[in-house]
């Protein structure tokens, strides 16, 4: 299958190359690199990835400026058509600021930048991102963020949980996130935002020092789900 993925680069993105490398490692196809100032996305995309980093220096709020960039209008239109979107770390912040996902990412409750590999519980395996995981499985994915403390009002949190839109929870205290939420899905399940970095855990064998292999499985899930669609 010719897998066509685009990785968006904003000024201050710093995980865009890692994301492209991960996508290529898993799919065998080079990712298409797209600049934030572009007005249009390439055609026939199977996935749009918004990478981690500090877009626009986190000015105003993390992700706020990037959410207004020209390419985001195209990303929102593509998401509305059902093109899968994966936002990691700053990409998750951009997705919430663009209102493609509910809630917001606040400063970590402990005030400190958190940079380590954490355990996540897979909460919903009925999505194209998580289909190859087992329900309730614990996976290990690195985090590296200062503003990862997920917030939404109680009604929104209840709705997300009721609709199976919590993809991952932290299995250990991490950043103060409401209900330990680490990853959130859109209503149609095709947009995923997550603070942990799957692109930093793509070694074929589980090599803990290199982040392990669980991130690779997430990308493999996307490919397998699209191939089976």
């Amino acid at each position: 299958m010719a897998f066509r993925a685009a990785v968006i680069t904003f000024p201050g993105s710093n995980c865009d190359r890692d994301m492209a490398t991960a996508l290529e490692a898993v799919s065998g196809q080079p990712a298409i690199r797209v600049w934030h100032g572009d007005a249009d996305l390439p055609e026939r995309l199977d996935l749009i990835a918004l990478p981690g980093g500090f877009s626009y220096g986190d000015y105003l709020r993390s992700g706020a400026m990037a959410a207004t960039s020209p390419i985001m209008r195209a990303v929102i239109a593509a998401a509305d058509r059902g093109v899968p979107v994966l936002g990691v770390c700053n990409g998750f912040q951009v997705l919430t600021e663009a209102r493609l996902l509910p809630g917001a990412l606040l400063r970590n409750a402990g005030q400190r930048f958190v940079c380590r590999t954490v355990s996540l519980t897979v909460c919903n395996t009925d999505t194209l991102f998580t289909a190859g995981f087992s329900a309730g499985e614990t996976i290990r994915i690195p985090v590296a963020h200062h503003d990862g403390n997920y917030f939404a009002d109680a009604d929104t949190l209840d709705r997300l949980e009721g609709e199976g839109r919590v993809a991952f929870r932290y299995a250990e205290a991490c950043n103060g996130s409401a209900r330990d939420i680490a990853g959130v899905l859109s209503a149609n399940g095709r947009v995923l935002g997550m603070m942990p970095h799957p692109e930093r855990a793509i070694e074929p064998a589980a090599v803990p020092a290199l982040g392990g292999a669980d991130g690779r499985r997430l990308f493999a899930n996307i490919l397998a789900s699209l191939a089976n669609a």
């Binding site: 706020a64 919430t96 600021e97 917001a104 403390n149 917030f151």
Partner: protein, 79 residues
Amino acid sequence: MQVRVLVRLKPGVLDPQGRAVHHALEGLGFAGVEDVRVGRLIELDVADGTDHDTLKAMCEKLLANTVIESFTIETGAAG
């Protein structure tokens, strides 16, 4: 026309930055500080006659994230 937009975290939204500043004030020996919340002041210089709805739209679309923040708009002479 000078406009001041005051952006605050909504009540109930945790403010770790405010808490750290609170602790720092106590560390400097200031007693009696009950709470600290850190917000943001944005000063705009806009065309005279810019209407309130336009300013409100600026706040809702960019200057504040209404999921977590509230805002107030003050218009008036430069101070």
